[in-house]
């Protein structure tokens, strides 16, 4: 049977290094299979986070040959196996151990975003009517599996560490889903501008490129939100109006 070498990051918050493992490879295998194989036979304590192994839960995010990917959806046949395959944890988050990072910041950010607030039911049966075409564009955002690969690759977080001023692509998608929800009445534009840092995004589209759900993060979520913010806060007439209202 063919073998391949996996160069896997081992370590914790104190530091670490790559360790090479040679393992057998079979047709159809994905990187997560190789990691499990190594874990079962060579390193029982190799830490890896995973659940569904079908690209639906977004747990097994890592950097494979330097690219942010889901381990369960990256097939070995797509990788050059003549040289070692590097598997590293997401580098934008603090390391817990080996391939597992502390992504709790994301969960804290979400709590700060104003929740869904629907208008009163207005159909005769006490519910709502919604058109599929109005639902379609929000459904794209709701495909998000919260793998946080977009957060991992975003330079505002990765290189500039603006975690306390910038919520990252995942939460722009989340906010867009709320803002464009046909029933939602909440206004999140002020927060987007003031505390969530939408202005820091300079639309390099790295997030869109790594999204395993192929969500058009930049084009369909971030740019429309930026437009709404501009429209609300930088339109000269509206600005003047706000001055008179005493609202900044």
């Amino acid at each position: 049977m063919a073998t391949a070498t996996f160069r896997v990051w081992r370590g914790d918050a104190q530091g670490g290094k790559f360790q090479d493992f040679v393992t057998e490879v079979a047709p159809g295998m994905v990187v997560l299979d190789a990691i499990h194989e190594i874990q079962a036979r060579q390193a029982n304590d190799l830490a890896v986070r995973w659940n569904c192994k079908a690209g639906k839960c977004g747990s097994c995010s890592a950097e494979i040959n330097g690219m942010p990917k889901l381990m369960c959806m990256t097939r070995l046949s797509q990788l050059p196996l003549e040289k070692p395959v590097t598997v590293e944890p997401m580098r934008s988050f603090p390391l817990i151990k080996d391939l597992v990072t502390d992504v709790s910041w994301n969960f804290r950010v979400k709590e700060q975003i104003k929740p869904f607030r629907p208008r009163k039911p207005d159909a005769p049966d006490g519910t709502w009517r919604m058109d599929q075409k109005d639902v379609d564009r929000v459904q794209e955002f709701r495909k998000c599996i919260e793998c946080f690969l977009c957060q991992d690759v975003c330079h505002v977080l990765r290189n500039h560490h603006l975690h306390d001023q910038f919520i990252g692509p995942r939460f722009f998608v989340y906010t867009a889903a709320l803002e464009m929800h046909p029933l939602d009445m909440e206004d999140r534009l002020k927060d987007l501008r003031k505390t969530q840092g939408i202005g820091f995004c300079n639309i390099t589209k790295c997030c869109t490129k790594v999204c395993p759900e192929s969500i058009h993060i930049t084009d369909n979520a971030i740019i429309p939100l930026k437009e709404r913010v501009v429209d609300q806060f930088y339109d000269p007439l509206k600005k003047l109006f706000r001055v008179f209202q005493g609202d900044q």
């Binding site: 839960c57 869904f116 599929q132």
Partner: protein
Amino acid sequence: MAEYETHQYDVLVIGAGGAGLRAAIEASAAGVSVGVVTKSLLGKAHTVMAEGGIAAALANVDDRDNWKVHFADTMRGGQYLNNPRMAQLHAQEAPARVRELEAWGALFDRTRDGRILQRNFGGHKYPRLAHVGDRTGLEMIRTLQDHGIHQGIDVHMECTILTLLKDGDRIAGAFGYDRERGRFKLFQAKAVVLATGGIGRAYRITSNSWEYTGDGLALAYHAGATLMDMEFVQFHPTGMVWPPSVRGILVTEGVRGEGGILLNKDKRRFMFDDIPPLYKDQTADNPEEGWRYTQGDKNARRPPELLTRDHVARCIVREVREGRGSPHGGVFLDISWIREKLPNAAEHIKKKLPSMYHQFKQLADIDITQEPMEVGPTVHYVMGGVRVDADTQMSDVPGLFAAGECAAGLHGANRLGGNSLSDLLVFGKRAGEYAACFAKEHSAASVNPDEVEAAARQALEPFGRDSGEGPFQVQQDLQNMMQDWVGIVRREEELEKALRQIPILWERWRKVSVSGNREYNPGWHTALDLRNLLTVSEAITRAALERKESRGAHFRDDYPAKDESFAKVHMTIRKGPDGEMRVSREAAPEIPADLQQIIEEMK
């Protein structure tokens, strides 16, 4: 002395899938303090993988539907071993639970007039499944998660419970460890809700994730609760079979709901060859009628591919055994054939089944709009679980509740697709509501520190051993044994062999050693989970041996027919005073006259 941090709640919910989150939201709304413990990160629980939809008689697509039809469908699917009261509550309350999700932000696919769209599914008489493409579970868990985080609920992510704690007869809390650091946590609680899901990891080929190790069932059993119906393990008929690394991953029943057909290697649509008498009148007798049904013709009967999962799975096994299977030991599931019927079939398939399209494209190099898939049965769900009161979801242990897959009763001998997500919502809510009531009516219980010490000591034992055998080998041998001897087709001598093997595996488990330290150590976690896996495996094997007939998901090669003497009998499992597992036969509750009448009317 073991070190641990202590948390106190009125209600502790173990599990953060659909049932756990719904229970936590309900308990919190009742004004009690709530803690949730989850083995994974929030939003990653198994519910996220559910594809097809939530069954609820909203009657948006076919106005002939109502709770009575849903109730009768559920009972028929479960071979009338369902708890009739649970089946009634489920059918009556599911529509309100679905509408509630919409009010919390869920966006279901729509009908032309803007209401929630519903699709066909196996065993459901009318299109009944509210859905979002084929990612309904994701929509459901995200909705509950995003609503739940604003309800003042404490969430302990990546935390695993090792044992339940009692004060006399009643529940007093739970003891566990956090995965990241390996530190112990003590939870004192007036009421505990188990919502831990299923047992699929007891088998080699399963659609279930690593989390599904039967924790709730084993915890409840060791705490003195009763398990029931453990012989009924659902094999979903359509899991992926090729390539090997994806074997078992689910292919939604929605494929068949949208017109997909099952073929053997001779291209024969073999499901027409064997239609059970109970379903004869409801099943199409020609392909054309079946196609019209999937396209919404109200006068057409459903195609045989949409018979119940137990039956479809066995038909597939038959085809493979008799040499008519596909190259990799499954059969063909073809949705691409609808090209003959629809002008824009490829786009239609991608729209209706987007994640199936991507799953096959990315993992198997198959374009499902152009060619058939290879599929075969995969362990998917356990109908059995903790025996609970139908209205309150409380187990035999006062203050201990169970909801969702880890509870027994609703599904009887076989679950209908789509009835799981609705089960989570309906009974998750009820468990949360009654757990909160229980907490309000009772003062705090006290925890015995000696029990906590013992649990901590036992948990750390694998580090001190030097047996040379790690936990993964034991787990793998258990999975192979269950797959081969307690699988989809069962025989007395194989079940006996399994039963003789189990004590040997228990003995090996007592000796497993783990390396490394306590921080995020999968070897250690597997060693700890094995206790639960072994407990449920033994329960399944004993119950399967005892039911000497074939019914629903339980098929005995040596007793291939139904036996009337088992028709109203449940197998129950309890821990004996000597610590040994006891299985006994108990009479099922009588179906009340008004519900029996509904069943007769719908026949």
